[in-house]
């Protein structure tokens, strides 16, 4: 009898353990935040869009995919990035709670789908300022918001095998180092960061509100996704982080002051960017040293040059693993980038 009881309890314990592990696994697969390019299998119905007032005119919208930055004022609404298309109506609802003014500008920090997916819906919900040499009816030229991006975003978007709808494409591109807009009483600078996360990255600096929106060259959830196929490089990302640090000014005791909205993850300030820049510089230097010693990629990966940061930024599975990150740095260094 006692033996039977013990067996029954053991059997129940094993089933309980199995059920727990299954739930934990499913939870980690379904709930854990993902990064970057690939669209995870998300149930968009369950995702809420949270709003955080950063400072001045600027808000941060958090949902799934990349963070959205919002600038709101009497002239209208300016949006940086647009998450996934499935969330665009929810994003629009949040924007309408903050402002009844038209969406005038949508700026894309880069080309990945979790940052440009809502472009068509959000842009078409807005109106542009139009004047001057317009063929036809001037209202037709003003019936969507202006989509601003570096021209490499347009090249990458339009050259895909299955490009996003034409309405999602940038309508106002630039090919040099920056583009400037004065909107809602503040200077907004769109600064191109060559060969960083991709070759079309821009950061957006709201000068009066003192906020920088970085796109995916700075995230707090993982190592940066270096999209080698689309012109990304470790050197470009480190360079971009150093440029962000040139722009940020901390307030008292190295805290606050210029606030930084990352592509994914939590709201930051200069000290958080410093930490991330230091980490990437140290890892790059380690791998550079190993490359100089003639080590192969496998030898470098086995040496675990990211060991001290893996618990914070690494991943053994999923879209962007630590192994893939080390490979991207290794390849980038070998290519001189």
């Amino acid at each position: 009898m006692k033996l039977a009881m013990t067996r029954m309890l053991l059997s129940r314990s094993v089933w309980f353990l199995f059920t727990c592990l299954t739930l934990i696994f499913l939870g980690s697969v379904l709930i854990s935040p993902r990064i970057g390019y690939g669209q995870p299998s998300l149930n968009f119905d369950d995702i809420e869009i949270d709003v955080l007032h950063v400072q001045g005119n600027v808000y941060m919208l958090v949902g799934a995919g990349g963070n959205i930055t919002l600038q709101v004022g009497r002239e209208g609404v300016l949006i940086v990035d647009s998450m996934y298309p499935e969330l665009a109506d929810k994003v629009l609802g949040v924007i309408r709670e903050l402002s009844d003014q038209p969406i005038r500008y949508l700026i894309n920090t880069h080309v990945h789908p979790d940052h440009i997916g809502g472009n068509a819906i959000l842009a078409q919900a807005g109106t542009n300022f139009a004047a001057g040499n317009v063929a036809g009816v001037i209202d037709d030229a003003a019936n969507t918001a202006t989509i601003i991006a570096h021209e490499n975003v347009l090249f990458r978007m339009s050259s895909r095998e299955t490009p996003p709808p034409f309405e999602a494409w940038p309508t106002d591109t630039f090919f040099n180092s920056s583009k400037e807009v004065y909107f809602n009483g503040e200077a907004v600078r769109v600064l191109h960061q060559p060969t960083a996360h991709t070759d079309g990255d821009s950061i957006v600096f709201f000068r009066r509100s003192d906020v920088i929106s970085t796109g995916d060259l700075f995230v707090t959830t993982s190592y940066p996704y270096i999209d080698l196929a689309r012109g990304g490089s470790i050197q470009g990302i480190v360079g971009a982080l150093n440029q962000i640090l040139e722009l940020t000014v901390p307030a008292d005791r190295q805290e606050g002051g210029t606030m930084v909205i990352p592509g994914h993850g939590r709201l930051c300030d200069e000290a958080d960017v410093v930490e991330y820049r230091d980490m990437l510089t140290i890892i790059r230097d380690r791998i550079q040293y190993m490359v100089d010693q003639g080590m192969s990629l496998r030898e470098v990966q086995n040496a675990r040059p990211t060991l001290d940061y893996d618990g914070r930024y690494g991943a053994e599975s999923g879209f962007w693993t630590t192994e893939q990150f080390v490979e991207a740095v290794y390849v980038g260094i070998n290519q001189g980038g």
Binding site: D50, L52, M60, V62, V238, G239, N242, L245, P250, R253, Q254, E255, M259, G265, R266, L267, C268, D269, E270, A271, D272, V274, E275, R277, D278, T281, I282, D285, R286, Y289, A303, P305, L307, D308, Y309, D310, G311, R312
Partner: protein
């Protein structure tokens, strides 16, 4: 009979309206006592002095990669000690309470330290911690509750900081629990740090103060200057296996190197013996 009824109502109202006040008041100026861990706290820890700290392999590598020259970079110069470390340093502490004016309910307990002047708020009004996407700060977000006469404080949303000021890291995912206990004019703080990134076990340490009504707290200013000209973007650090100070502390004090490199086992008497 009517007077008895009035008295009954008076006592009932008095008892029911007793404000949710701190079981014990910590307000005042406090001077630290350094009898615990004096060499680490005042002269400062040596390089590669990690014993007694339950760091994991990642924490050790991060510590061994750390170069003191990092602190010469302008962006590192004015970082204050985080709230889980700041009480170790020199300098007095002021504690004051904040009450809601109508109900006299205790809303928050505030602290300010002399060294680097970190100010901190411990919320006592039952509010919840902010969502994960909120900013992290050097002092973190703290809430307190009473366990008898002990104030138990829970802190999250800390910036990445340090366990010891010789480069041993503490991550921004750490969770800190503090216990403040007052015995007459003595104040004791027990700090328990749990860090899934750099600790294999919770790290516990204590600090003590004596009430010192005559003390004051000076202003603290930090001015960032370029101390050393370096190429843009350079970050001083040691490559793995190349820290020249490994073994220096062990040799100076005649200690086994293994012990000075820290880890959970170095906390226990069985290892020390």
């Amino acid at each position: 009979m009517r007077e008895f009824g009035f008295m009954l109502v008076f006592f009932a109202v008095t008892l029911c309206n007793f404000p949710a006040f701190a079981q014990i008041d910590f307000a005042g100026q406090w001077s630290p006592r350094y009898h615990e861990d004096y060499p680490e706290r005042i002269p400062g820890p040596s390089l590669v002095e990690y014993h007694g700290i339950p760091i994991n392999e990642a924490g050790r590598l991060r510590g061994l990669s750390w170069s003191p020259s990092l602190l010469t970079l302008p962006e590192h110069q004015c970082k204050p000690h985080p709230s889980d470390y700041a009480h170790r340093g020199p300098g007095r502490m002021r504690i004051w309470n904040e009450f809601k004016s109508d109900s006299q309910q205790l809303i928050a307990i505030h602290t300010r330290l002399r060294w680097q002047a970190p100010e901190r708020t411990i919320w006592m009004d039952g509010r919840s911690h902010p969502p994960a996407y909120s900013a992290h700060t050097w002092q973190g977000f703290s809430t307190g509750k009473w366990d008898g006469e002990t104030l138990v404080v829970t802190t999250t949303h800390l910036k990445q900081g340090w366990l010891r000021r010789n480069g041993l890291p503490r991550s921004d995912l750490a969770h800190v629990t503090e216990h403040f206990i007052r015995h007459e004019n003595y104040l004791t703080q027990i700090v328990v740090i749990s860090d899934p990134v750099y600790l294999s076990e919770p790290f516990i340490r204590s600090n003590n103060w004596v009430l010192d009504p005559r003390s004051s707290i000076d202003p603290y200013l930090c001015d960032i200057v370029v101390e050393i000209e370096r190429p843009a973007g350079s970050v001083p650090h040691y490559l793995p296996g190349m820290n020249p100070f490994v073994g220096e502390y062990a040799e100076l004090y005649g200690l086994p190197l293994e012990g000075t490199l820290g880890g959970a086992k170095t906390m226990y008497p069985s290892f020390i013996e």
